[in-house]
């Protein structure tokens, strides 16, 4: 199958590959997979005090489209607020990369990964705030 130029560009020169410290309270980690093809994708975000994603990293084991989708996703969410990033739709990723119908699930995976990372970050923040309140009350 022919990959679009943008997919090949991201595949050969992926942006933001790597890991962030999972234990850092300002880091959210999303781990998602696609059972149909066995792809695994980890996407991490580092959020600053203003709620802006200042860094994003990914590690994807899968086909070119899955790698390109996660590479593009990290590019797009950097500099966005958490809420803006949460609103990114897989269709936007698929359109940008001209993914064929059989590869749409790769963009779905990337959207799920963004959301899962944000949810992890929010969970951590809520837990931290609850702990802080607890501290304040005692």
């Amino acid at each position: 199958m022919a990959y679009s130029e943008k997919v090949i560009e991201h595949y050969e020169n992926p942006k933001n590959v790597g890991t962030l410290d999972q234990n850092d309270p300002s880091v959210g980690t999303g781990l998602v997979g696609a059972p149909a093809c066995g792809d695994v994708m980890r996407l991490q975000i580092k959020v600053n005090e203003a709620g802006v994603i200042e860094d994003a990293r990914f590690k994807t084991f899968g086909c070119g489209s899955a790698i390109a989708s996660s590479s593009l996703a990290t590019e797009w969410i950097k500099g966005k607020t958490v809420d803006e990033a949460f609103a990114i739709k897989n269709s936007q990723i698929a359109e940008e990369l001209s993914l064929p119908p059989v590869k749409i699930h790769c963009s779905v995976l990337a959207e799920d990964a963004i959301k899962s990372a944000i949810e992890d970050y929010r969970r951590k923040r809520a837990a931290r705030e609850a702990a802080a309140r607890e501290q304040g009350n005692s």
């Binding site: 998602v32 696609a34 792809d39 695994v40």
Partner: protein, 179 residues
Amino acid sequence: MTDPFDVLGIEPRFRLDLESVGARHRDLSRALHPDRYVGRPANERRLALSRAIEVNQAFGIVRDPVRRAQALLARHGVSVPEGSEPPAEPTFLMRMLELREELAALVATKDVSALERFIERAEADEAGAVEALAAGFAELERRAEPPPEITGELVRRLGELRYYRRLLGEARAARDEIE
């Protein structure tokens, strides 16, 4: 798509004696062979040919654990189209990611014997996933009306088998490339 178990005339079970299913496939294929239809009317020849194709496809499905599981689930009204699978357990995904990272590191060092050991372990994991699926189907087959939890659990186990398949496929491809 016609049910492959019906096409082959065999019991719809996950645990199969593949040798006897193979023999059944050979018998059916022989009976439907074009040589046996020489001189017969065109519509009979066409029918025999399409039946032969169906028998071949059915055998292909039934002997592959993943496709066999899908066909069995379909008999229970559960279809699992691509992209609609329930997400895997986080701990499973974590383990898969670790295995993928380990594989990537082995490929980078081009250590064939370590890669062979990795493949052996992955094969054992795959066999374990097939066994888990078989145990789940045995449970399903014992019940007249299986509750949705059972089929849901089977879909999850099927997903895990697919992950191991994919992992093994890549590990073997990497080994073949290095060798």
